[in-house]
Amino acid sequence: MLHSPLVKWIGLIGLFLAVALLFLTSLAVGQTAIPLSETWEALTQYDPDNTNHLIIGTSRLSRAVISLVIGINLALAGVFVQALTRNPLAAPDLLGINAGAIFFIVFAITWLEVSSLSGYMWFAFLGAAIAGGTVFFLGSLGRDGLTPIKVILAGVALTALFVSFTQGMLVLDEQSIQTVLFWIAGSVAGRDMDMLMSVMPFLLSALVVSFFMARPMGVFSSGDDVAKGLGQKVGVTKLILGLLVIVLAGGSVAVVGSVGFIGLIVPHMAKSLVGNDYRWILPYSGLLGAAILLSADIVARIIIAPQEVPIGVMTALIGGPFFIYLAKKGVAKK
């Protein structure tokens, strides 16, 4: 763990540089390898006649930007969910939020014939809110409140419900399988920047609110009673955290589909690096999330080239074992 503020600052700058480097690498790596120097040129002095610059400008840049932004979002959504439920095993995807958002998007496409990007986005928010709200409500019933096992079981059941309905709709409408399959699998490839742009205002405002939440979250983490005693309006804190999760996770699903486990892993990594101060956890988590999603995307591109592994599959393959490790370590008992 990094103790002194100076070391933490150095670590943060180091992380920032690492993310920048990964971003450039993500532009350079692919079917056509482009030298880093030329990648840099493409960003600074773009030349539309240069094929390499064209590749970067038309396909790789949007991909890298999406990975960067969504990585930050997913990680922060994870921090907020874990803080809200006080549950180290929580993550938006485990709580059924992704499945809920996807169900509503597929429903909007196949039954309501929605085809506008902002339409998808609102349906994603709606689905995220319904799924997250239900799981939170069901998990918090009972004398011992939000226990990890209850929250996870509720999430699993709701996920199964939404997934099975989504599959039912797809069987009825075979044409849309290929169109919506990437949402189910999760992908940053070939995604439109327009989608990101229509979600961006919401994500940015969520990001701004996030950084005002660091202190209240610290107080909140010591328990409802203590937080009340210290003068915090606990209900308001919960509401804001909940809204942040819905916007960050729902917005991410609208752009890249279901990419799981970033929200689970990253808060643990950040906490092991900087301790329990949310003023450090939040920036560290954001950068770590971006770094992980960027690297996952790079690996997904080269591991079985010329084909690609869907990014959601990559993150699940990394995150699943981590979840098992946490469960085995017994964090659930706390």
Binding site: L138, A154, A185
Partner: protein, 344 residues
């Protein structure tokens, strides 16, 4: 309550039978039989019940194709699948001592799905499709073994088993998605229909081979069944009455997997039946394993056959996978259970 106990082979096998149990079984048999006949008569071509009777008893033969080739094997397969899923769930719930456990929640079904989808994607052209069940059962077994081994830490605690099942299930689902995205559209659609759970296109050979697979775990359940009652009380207690807990847990887990894997192999991911059937059965009869298992099997059979009946008649001429309907009833039921057991 009055009941009789049947003891065989030096008390090795004991079965309790009560009046209430007999009545419940008779009632369920009647209900299941009724739905069974209805599902032979319903479909895009409605055949009156009287003619179904005549066809079955051999008095007429004009509906041979529809009733005997299409609907009869499908209805029988639905019954078998439901019964297997129900009993698999019952075993697991007793074993884990958690009313919320079922093969689909702890990841056995995802293992079977992975096995089957791997087979569809890579083996379909090379190996005959009749080995698909084997792939699914192997997948389920491997998943269960992995879950069990990873959860092992001087014994296996129920909560750890469930959590690790959830984690492993996520990994296996990722692999399934990976294969779906990688393969061609035709294979994708095929895998998709399989995954959602459908007994569409069931044939007589499916029915017979499913029966063979089901015959493997049943003797074990008859011999070890009475131990399951004791396991429900608690591990310490089981040890003190002389049960080798870990060995028995292992055998039960394997039986549950065999049943769930076989069901998944023939019907895909029909979810939540393993969860619902034992609960409904427990409300009706005494909590003693062999008797409970019979009622659970009947309830499970009922759930699947009715789900399939609704699924193929509601949106005629479309045939929706039965799994969509079991999830539609099952998931709210699960959430209700979560509410009911909120203080446990």
């Amino acid at each position: 309550m009055k009941y009789w106990t049947l003891r065989l082979f030096n008390d090795r096998i004991s079965i309790q039978v009560s009046m209430r149990w007999l009545l419940t079984v008779a009632g369920w048999l009647a209900v299941v039989g009724g739905v069974f006949l209805l599902s032979l008569s319903a479909g895009s071509n409605w055949i009156p019940l009287s003619e179904v009777f005549k066809q079955l008893t051999g008095q007429i033969d004009q509906h041979t194709f529809v009733v005997e080739t299409l609907r009869l094997p499908r209805a029988l397969l639905a019954l078998l699948v439901g019964a297997a899923l129900g009993v698999a769930g019952l075993i697991l719930q007793s074993l884990v001592r958690n009313p919320l456990a079922s093969p689909d929640i702890i990841g056995i079904t995802s293992g079977a799905s992975l096995g089957a989808v791997t087979f569809i994607s890579f083996g379909a052209g090379v190996i005959s499709m009749q080995y698909l069940p084997l792939a699914a059962i192997l997948g389920g077994l491997l998943a269960a073994l992995l879950i069990y081994l990873i959860s092992w830490n001087k014994g296996v605690t129920p909560i750890r088993l469930v959590l690790i099942g959830v984690g492993l299930s996520a990994i296996m689902k990722a692999c399934v998605t990976f294969m779906l995205v990688m393969s061609e559209t035709a294979t994708t659609t095929k895998s998709y229909i399989w995954l959602t759970g459908s007994i569409y296109g069931a044939s007589w050979s499916d029915v017979t081979s499913m029966i063979w697979w089901l015959l493997i775990p049943i003797p074990f359940l008859i011999v070890f069944g009475r131990g399951l009652n004791v396991t429900e009380i608690g591990e310490d207690f089981s040890v003190s009455v002389g049960i080798r807990v870990q060995l028995q847990q292992f055998i039960f887990l394997m039986c549950s997997v065999m049943l769930a894997g076989t069901a998944a192999a023939f019907a895909g991911g029909i979810e939540f039946v393993g969860l619902m059937a034992p609960h409904i059965a427990r409300r009706m009869v005494h909590r003693s394993f062999p008797g409970l298992a019979v009622v659970t099997a009947l309830v499970g059979a009922f759930l699947v056959i009715i789900a399939d009946l609704v699924a193929r008649t509601l949106f005629l001429p479309l045939d929706i996978p039965a799994g969509v309907f079991t999830a539609a009833i099952g998931a709210p039921f699960f959430l209700y259970l979560l509410f009911r057991y909120r203080n446990q």
